[in-house]
Amino acid sequence: MRSITKTFPGVKALQDVSLTVKRGHIHAICGENGAGKSTLMKVLSGVYPTGTYDGEIAFENEVVQFKSINDSEASGVVIIHQELALSPYLSIAENIFLGNEQQTNGWIDWNKTNLEASKLLARVGLRDSPITKVKDIGVGKQQLVEIAKALSKEVKLLILDEPTAALNDEDSAHLLDLMKHLRGQGITSIMISHKLNEIKAVADEVTIIRDGKLIETLDMRTDDISEERIIRGMVGRDLGSRYPDHTPRIGEELLRVEDWNVYHPLDHQRKVVKDANITVRAGEIVGIAGLMGAGRTELAMSVFGHSYGYNISGRVYKNGTLIKTNTVSNAIKHGLAYATEDRKQYGLNLIEDIKRNISLVALQKIAKGGWVDSNREAVVAENYRKSMNIKAPSVDAITGKLSGGNQQKVVLSKWMFSDPDVLILDEPTRGIDVGAKYEIYGIINRLADDGKGVIVISSELPELIGICDRIYTIFEGRITADVARGQATAEYLMQHMTQEQETKQP
């Protein structure tokens, strides 16, 4: 790709970017959110057709002009988007050959479809039957189905946009292995990723993009590139530490959950949280570490207004008194807050502006007799915009147009405005770039310093180790360990996250 420039109305998304990807390499692209990585890949794969950008693309030494995705796929360039494009109610085989049906005279040849599909599934290491419906397999496997679909199109250059963002460690590891395996078969890959350890593990080269400009391309094999080195390129400065310094001032116990049991909402036999006991003290940041599906979110959501689960039992104490958290409004009344792991689906009203999102939980605070004072609302929101450093022209900006980091700051502002005592933050930094992560950590520390209890649920162990005063591990719905800051290492946590301990924790 030579001198690619792409402008959107009012913004220059890419400025004179030239990128060379060598055959048979895994080429990583990283940069902060909004740096232009996805835009560059959409230019390359024909999502933005030729003519809507300046510059030229050469593929296998020939200048190509992709007018649509069909063009690029015909040449062997396949992009797999961050949000998977599978149809949940169709089978794996049907999804693989969607738009490329195995047919004779317009009638689908089901034997061929399923046979070819199972061959492809074998290549990506997926052992499920090709007639399984996609909705019945996990996100990790769905990602593999996407890759199988790409393979069915005789892919030469595979573009993966944050392939492991939604995957747990195990699935991620499998995916990375698969990428290496495909490299062995001569397939070139471009991978956009935030996860530096993954880049280090698989990439041959890494290109860093910042503010729509190409900063540098580093050779991962010859040079000794550290994660800090990449981060410096991405943010344009040394972060010093990835986690701000924090001296905790821990006080009295705020919240205690005892003997908490939750059953699956659809499968009433299955217990998803088993006899969980957790406590949070004032000023304390408590982590919950567990693999996906271990029951972390289920535990949090069932405590927060019984928002998840069936036949929930157990007791919740706030400052030593038994409280009822059976509805969300009760939970909020008792000073709980829960910021969801999925901001877009469960956290924000994306078609509404910043100020109305921030005020939603605690509208009563700015209302008199049921009437909202919209001027006070604007002032409150403006204060949060400044103190939280939400990057938006004004509080009238629509939240759907903000970047992930800024959306998360709006979610945090919304809960801070409700003035809770205990905040449960579920994956607070998922899909957020390094700079904004640092800011979020700072906000979490500030909340703890204000005497609030903070529970952080995260898939990223370094993050939990970096910011938490204490970490619970959870495995198959059971709390398996209660680890103090000093003892927390990734290996130790992982050990408790993957196997049940003989001795139960108090």
Partner: protein, 393 residues
């Protein structure tokens, strides 16, 4: 030059809000010219308001339901059912007219509770519940009326649909004084309220509206009210139903934009899950919305019956579609979360004007349907185009 450009940019940002107004005025001017001045004759303006009142009342309830992401297909049948009940109550059960009105509004509330229960607490999509309601209440109407028409109604009851406020000028003055008084009062309230809220915004330093634009908008709206006042005052004065409609519009517009309840409705329509996890009692809000829709549909039914002086088993046929069209012309989103009460009222007026103007011009009903369909499609297409242009979702 830059000042001019920034003013232009500001205006284009306001296009979605004022676009509807411009469309309304363009349609008025179009018909005023093509009908050789009949459209804005005092008697026609008066008729226009009276004859569209029940659709506008329905549109107010409908826009709230649609903002919450639901729909109500049953309102036409509810209009008929309540009309039938009012007839049965007054002529067969000999209940005084005022008590019948109260009871009928109660019937509307019960209808709303019935549908709201299935939608909010039982979780059946509103489309299906109200489609069922459309059939059930049509059936109940026919049972109540035993497939007969009921007529006539007492004069006091009929006044709700076609009556006017008393003429203080004794029918001899050039302009009816009460109407003039009300019109001037409404204009004054508008100006005072506008200035006060602008002051409050300035005090909190959240004012962004240019002063000239503020004056222009105020002058325009005030002028419009005074024009309608003049036209009504030179005919028979203020229709009673206009007072009802005016109060409903002001109250519900305020509820939707400034009350906690209104905010909850927008939040539910924008993202149901996020609203529930923010502590909003989503089921109760949904339930109340349908109760409210039921009461407003009952009111529309009373107005319609009073106007025709007739309870008819076929009444209200297709009203739901007019109300829904008004809401979407008024800028609401099918997916919920977006829409305004004033938008729905203007949308309703546009449909009313088209009906009225085309009837005066003698356009056949087949072409009226065709044109209304295209206007609905065009209005929504314009909205979608606008959103896409501004880079929205």
């Amino acid at each position: 030059m830059t000042a001019f450009r920034s003013a232009l940019e500001y205006l284009s940002g306001q296009l979605r809000q004022i676009g509807l107004f411009i469309a309304l005025i363009a349609i008025i001017i179009f018909f005023q010219v093509t009908t050789a001045g009949i459209t804005l004759k005092p008697i026609n303006v008066s008729n226009l308001i009276v004859q569209n009142s029940y659709i506008l009342i329905l549109a107010v309830g409908m826009v709230m339901v649609i903002i919450a992401g639901h729909i109500d297909l049953s309102v036409g049948s509810v209009v008929a059912f309540v009309g039938a009940m009012s007839g049965v109550m007054i002529t067969q059960w000999n209940i005084p007219w005022w008590a019948a009105i109260v009871l009928c509004l109660g019937v509307g509330a019960l209808v709303g509770m019935w549908q709201g229960f299935w939608i909010a607490y039982f979780g059946i999509p509103a489309f299906i519940v109200t489609l069922a309601g459309m059939l059930t209440f049509r059936g109940l109407t026919q049972i109540a009326l035993q497939n007969q028409q009921i007529s006539p109604f007492p004069d006091e009851f009929r006044a709700l649909g076609s009556g006017f406020l008393p003429d203080l000028g004794g029918g001899t003055s050039f302009l009816e004084p009460l109407t003039v008084g009300l019109g001037v009062l409404a204009t004054l309230l508008l100006v005072v309220q506008g200035v006060r809220s602008r002051r409050a915004r300035q005090k909190h330093s959240v004012e962004e509206e240019p002063f000239a634009w503020f004056i222009l908008k105020l002058a325009f709206t005030g002028g419009l009210i005074l024009l309608i006042t003049y036209l009504l005052a030179s005919y028979r004065g203020t229709p009673i139903v206009l007072v009802v409609l005016g109060v409903l519009t002001v109250v519900y517009a305020a509820v939707m934009s400034n009350s906690v309840f209104g905010r909850h409705v927008y939040a539910i329509g924008g993202n149901l899950h996020a609203a529930a996890l923010s502590g909003i009692k989503t089921k109760r809000v949904t339930f109340l919305l349908f109760v409210n829709m039921g009461v407003l549909a009952a009111l529309a039914g009373l107005v319609f019956t009073a106007q025709l002086n007739l309870a008819n088993p076929k009444a209200g046929d297709g009203f739901e579609l007019d109300a829904i069209a008004a809401v979407f012309i008024g800028g609401a989103a099918v997916t919920g979360g977006i829409g305004t009460v004033t938008g729905a009222i203007i949308g309703g007026l546009i449909i009313g004007l088209l009906n009225n103007g085309m009837s005066i011009l003698g356009v056949g009903t087949e072409y009226q349907q065709l044109i209304k369909g295209l206007v609905l499609l065009g209005a929504v297409a314009f909205d979608v185009y606008n959103k896409r242009r501004s880079g929205g979702r």
